[in-house]
Amino acid sequence: MWERFFSEMTKETLEILRSVAQFLPRLMITLIIVLIGWVIAYVLRYLLRSILRLAKFDRLSEDAGASQFLKKAALPSTTELLSRFVFWVAWIGFILIGVSVLGIVGLQEHIGRFFGFLPRLFAALFVFFFGLLAASFFSRAALLASVNADLPSPRLIAATVRTVIVIFSVSVGFEELGIGEHTILVAFTIVFGALMLGLALAFGLGGRDLARRYLERRFMHEHKEEREDELSPL
């Protein structure tokens, strides 16, 4: 019986040893891939940081209003954030590659999905970022235009423009990610619709006089008289 026990034991031990011997090199490879991945990710982070600094990306994001947003959230600057993000994405990518080398069944599929998701993530971030940029630019343009045109509540107009564009870009971004697209779309539709309705009501009720005056000016040629106080600057 002992004989049998020992033989089984030896067999199993050999089996374990054999599988360990089989597994160890893979693990080594995995570790090496992870290590190399870290180095590459680090270099990538370094490169990206330098490029963004050279391109004065911070100013661009400041323009977009992203920096203020980050500051409020006590986060580092956009450049730092973006380079860290790239670092982690790259390293995680390598870790996953390393893990896939281990040949654990079922994991492969998830890793493949992760890599398939990456471009969409980037696209979404891209849309979101430029959405912020556009929102900032157009809201400022609206602010300046309404101030110089002497329109009432320029800030409200500017904020409205910003909100609409931000929501729009967020919705496009999420759609790209494929997360709750319907919900976002519906939410956007509701917000936009409400805004328009509000404006319609505001103009219809509150701005009745203004609208009438405007139309009168437009068609009764009264605006010439109004303009007389504008001195020719040149």
Partner: protein
């Protein structure tokens, strides 16, 4: 060669027929049928009366008018084919018209005229605005004579103006241009002017025409090009300037064309203006400046409101352009009640310089910077009008002079801002 792209084949054929000329008068137009006829008639009489022997041509660069502007210009030709009894000319006088490509802009029109002048080897060239309805034939002589006889390169006009006309020129363009470039050109943004063939070839060959600022504010750009290129500049008195109904009442548009271009020019000319320049006096033929003491009606309250509200509303924008101390001062001025508002010369000069520096650094969109200056300019205008309300023309001029000195004194401040981090 910029000519290759700016002169289309039909126009080139017409230029070939005109051949070499001594004098050329350009009229940039866009839907100016109402006034262009009268202006071209005056130009024609001026040429016949004062330069009967010279070979001359009138060239109209049109932005695609839909109202027969081009036909009206062409009809003014003096040829042997359509003989007119009421005038006697020695020579054929071609009036040709071309539709330049691209959107209507004074820059493209002027570039076309200058390229034509260069090709025709015109000795002297004048440009007359189609809405200068106060033009007399003498203008042609007054503008061209200094080039033809005295080899000047750039002839800029001095007008007889209403007391409160041309406020942007008096409050910003003239003082700043004078301080920065050390040249006392009274009308840095002229609509009627003349230049030499030498200057035309120089300018027609520049590659900056492709830039928005040069296209939009070509008149300003040319003045600066004349100053920085060390061309011989002379001012000449033209008389009353019509307060054309088509004059840009839109302040922002006017500022884009003039202030925007002035700011823009600072980039490429930094080496010139940052050096210590000797102030160059500009010879003026005729009265230095002449003001009509009769004041115009204007709405002070509206100016004040727009200024005060603009400063308030634009605070986040102004914060990114102006330095903290200047912004505080401006806000202080804006918050003072209507009667006591005082936007001082010193503060105004600093404001403008900080805007120029911000423009240079593109802290935000350059166009937004120019737009953001408009409300502040209103505040300055308010102060200027209030100060000079009952002043004689002489007193008003001395106030303008004081402002100029303030700009000149603050020039080091501009340099400091230019290189500084903010």
């Amino acid at each position: 060669m910029p000519e290759e792209t700016i002169l289309n084949d039909d126009f080139l054929r017409e230029l070939m027929n005109v051949g070499e000329v001594d004098l050329l008068v350009g009229v940039p137009t866009y839907n100016d049928a109402r006034t262009v006829g009268q202006v071209v008639q005056a130009i024609r009489s001026g040429l016949l009366k004062y330069f009967p022997r010279q070979r001359a041509a009138i060239i109209n660069a049109d932005g695609g008018s839909k109202d027969n502007t081009q036909e009206l210009v062409r009809a003014a030709s003096i040829s042997d084919m359509h003989h007119a009894d009421n005038l006697y000319a020695l020579r054929t006088l071609h009036c040709i018209s071309t539709r330049y490509t691209g959107t209507p802009s004074s820059g493209t029109a002027l570039h076309t005229i200058m390229a034509a002048s260069d090709l025709l080897r015109a000795n002297a060239c004048a440009v007359i605005s189609p809405d200068s309805t106060s033009i007399t034939p003498e203008w042609i002589q007054t503008l061209l004579q200094p080039v033809v006889n005295d080899v000047n390169d750039w002839v800029t006009p001095v007008y007889r103006r209403h007391k409160f006309e041309g406020l942007l020129i008096r409050n910003l363009l003239y003082p700043m241009n004078r301080a920065v470039y050390s040249s006392r050109v009274r009308e840095p943004y002229p609509t009627d002017f003349a230049f030499s063939g030498r200057f035309a070839s120089h300018v027609a060959g520049l590659d900056t025409w492709s830039e928005e600022a040069a296209r939009v504010g070509a008149e300003m750009y040319l003045t600066i090009a004349a100053i920085t290129g060390k061309f011989r500049i002379v001012q000449t008195y033209l008389g009353p300037k019509s307060r054309g109904e088509g004059a840009p009442a839109d302040l922002v548009a006017a500022m884009r064309r003039s202030v925007g271009t002035l700011f823009w020019s600072l980039d490429s000319t930094f080496n010139i203006w940052s050096a210590d320049l000797d102030p160059e006096p500009v010879v003026t033929i005729g009265p230095e400046h002449e003001l009509d003491p009769e004041p115009l009606r204007f709405n002070r309250k509206r100016l004040h409101d727009m200024f005060a509200r603009g400063v308030g509303e634009l605070e986040p924008v102004l914060r990114s352009i102006l330095s903290h101390s200047t912004l505080c001062q401006v806000q202080q001025v804006a918050s003072s009640p209507e009667g006591e508002l005082g936007y001082t010369d010193e503060l105004w000069a600093h404001t403008v310089y900080e805007f120029a520096a911000a423009y240079h650094k593109s802290v935000i969109s350059r166009d937004h910077i120019v737009q953001a200056l408009a409300p502040l300019y209103r505040g300055r205008t308010y102060t200027f009008l209030a100060e000079n309300r009952d002043n004689s023309p002489e007193a008003l001029e001395s106030n303008v002079e004081a402002l100029c000195l303030a700009f000149e004194r603050s020039k080091p401040y501009l340099l400091e801002m230019w290189n500084g981090r903010k």
